[in-house]
Amino acid sequence: MNGPLIELDGVSRSFSVGGGLFMRKRPLHAVSGVSLAIGRGESLALVGESGCGKSTLARLMIGLLEPSAGAIRLDGKTLAAHGRHAVARRIQPVFQDPYSSLNPRKTVGAIIGLPLDVQGGADGAQRRRQVEAMMEHVGLARRLYHNYPNQLSGGQRQRVAIARALITHPEIVVCDEPTSALDVSVQSQILNLLQDLRRELGLTYVFISHNLAVVEHIATRVAVMYLGRIVEEAATGALFRAPRHPYTRALLDSVLTPEPGLGVPDTHLGAAYPDPVNPPPGCAFHPRCSAALVQCRRDRPSLAGDDRARVACHLYVSSRSGLTRRTS
């Protein structure tokens, strides 16, 4: 078997927050010791509540941030060793808000073609041909070439952002909430487009979303994050069928499917999301966990399991036959 396309090895990233008159800056560990391997053609979803570090992880993967510790390897070589240009050619982002991620003073053609200018090699008629071909590919009419973003609908803008990401034929696309700013009918068009593009171009997706219905639809594997760490990772079908971590369970319970008469579920997540500057000791989830043991308050569980499924929870023991729930 080939190695993973992109691999995160114990990646951490912290920021200094607070600070001010007479106040000391404190470290915030946005991402702590995350290890992940993503194979070519996979679609990995990162899910979790705001502040869990999923967007920081995405920025680390596209090289916008440097890890404070650990390494990110693309084809076995660190991002730093590849160099900025090469990373940008192979990994591209699509952001949440197509209103703020497109330069309002540039035309559609200029926006989509910019990566070509940066990477060099195409100009004049050839550049225009490439941009128009990509516009067609993502379902944008060629006549929009000279239009400005404010003349486009939300769906069209997100298509521009996707075309810009794909123009240099990247292998990995990191989508940070690509449809959450869009209307329902537009969201389905963009999701269909992303699926088609993945098949046609053999893309690998890292997909960040808080909409678990969308995640189930588009992802092949899911990594659940809580307070900067991965707490569960499994194939999408298995995770939705049989979530292991109590936090994953609560997340899935809070999905409101359009079924009348069921009411709003109780997620049993009493306390609020913890302060990331001051994380709880032991398992960071224990103050909200209804199944917490004494041990959970003391020791942080490590991510155990194998390639198929991993979980960081004291309720499970890992053995050769896989992960099993502790009986006592």
């Binding site: 609908s153 537009v186 969201q187 389905s188 269909n192 939705f240 359009p258 009348p260 069921l262 009411g263």
Partner: protein, 322 residues
């Protein structure tokens, strides 16, 4: 018993450089005490402006007219602004989408909570404070007493939205209008807030108008649903009937657009509604959905269509639904 809220032929027009924008075009609504009505639709369909029109909170440039606008025995069409502001925050209250922008950053949570009671009931501050602490506790905020001196920026999004809800409850309103109250929140917090709203609604016997674009929320929270498109209600039905047998092509289209775990197959093509939402300016004769509708016929362009009653409480504005 008469309905709590009766709306007939509500219109909102907004002057724009390219002509008069007919944002709300002849909306009829009825809401009983204790009932939950959900207004659903996509951006620009007029759902938020309908709510603002009911509350008398439209932007100054917007023009409101209605054949009938009655709330708890009061005729709101002719009500002077002074008396309208007596009602607002007292008998009817609103919860907005973004609690960061709708709370005043310069005042403490306590000041903002107490304001409604001081304004409407002329109670002493100590009594208002008591009620504020009671309600903060009721909406699930721990250490309620110490929160009163905090400012909105010191609270998380979920806490701010709880404060907004407590604020709406201060005077014990008969109607709460909540405009996308959980859209800015995490799914886990969303479930908590929606449960809380329903619980409080039962406890205080309030009517609720819930505006959302999320069909999952509609299904779980509403008693009745009005689907809006281009400023009109195109389908109105009890929640079960709408999800089991929606009749308007737009409603059906919306339902096919969303992935549902366990129902849609992962990776399969989702439904789409081709075309774009029209801008309601100029000639708006006929069904406004017809240029996106798979089943459109020549007579869809004719004036109307009228609202047709199908079964009990199920009405639809479509010539195809006989």
């Amino acid at each position: 018993m008469a309905a709590l809220l009766e709306v007939e032929n509500l219109r909102v027009d907004i002057p724009t450089p390219s002509g008069l924008l007919h944002a709300v075009r002849g909306v009829d609504l009825q809401l009983d005490r204790g009932e939950t009505l959900s207004l659903v639709g996509e951006s620009g369909c007029g759902k938020s402006l309908t709510a603002l029109a009911l509350m008398g909170l439209l932007p100054a440039a917007a023009q409101r007219s209605a054949l009938r606008l009655r709330f708890g025995g009061e005729d709101l069409v002719a009500l002077p602004e002074r008396e309208m502001s007596d009602l607002r925050g007292d008998r009817m209250a609103m919860v907005f989408q973004e609690p960061m922008t709708s709370l005043n950053p310069a005042y403490t949570v306590g000041d903002q909570l107490e304001e409604a009671l001081l304004r409407h009931r002329r109670l002493p501050r100590s009594k208002a404070r008591e009620r504020a602490v009671f309600l903060l506790d009721r909406v699930g905020i721990t250490a309620a007493g110490s929160r009163l001196s905090q400012y909105p920026h010191q609270l998380s999004g979920g806490l701010r939205q709880r404060v907004m809800i407590a604020m709406a409850l201060m005077c014990g309103p008969e109607l709460i209008v909540a405009d996308e109250p959980t859209t800015a929140l995490d799914v886990t917090v969303q479930a908590q807030i929606l449960r809380l709203l329903k619980e409080l609604q039962r406890e205080f016997k309030m009517a609720l108008i819930l505006i959302t674009h999320d069909l999952g929320i509609v299904a779980r929270v509403a008693d009745r649903v009005a689907v809006m498109y281009a400023g009109e209600v195109v389908e109105s039905a009890p929640v079960k009937a709408l999800f089991q047998a929606s009749r308007h092509p737009y409603t059906r289209g919306l339902m096919r657009c969303i992935p549902v775990p366990g129902r849609t197959r992962p990776g399969e093509k989702l439904g789409v509604i081709a075309g774009l939402v029209p801008t309601p300016i100029g000639d708006l004769t006929g069904c406004q959905f017809r240029n996106r509708c798979e089943n459109a016929r020549p007579d869809c362009a004719r004036p109307g269509p009228e609202f047709r009653r199908l079964d009990a409480g199920h009405e639809v504005r479509c010539v195809l639904a006989a």
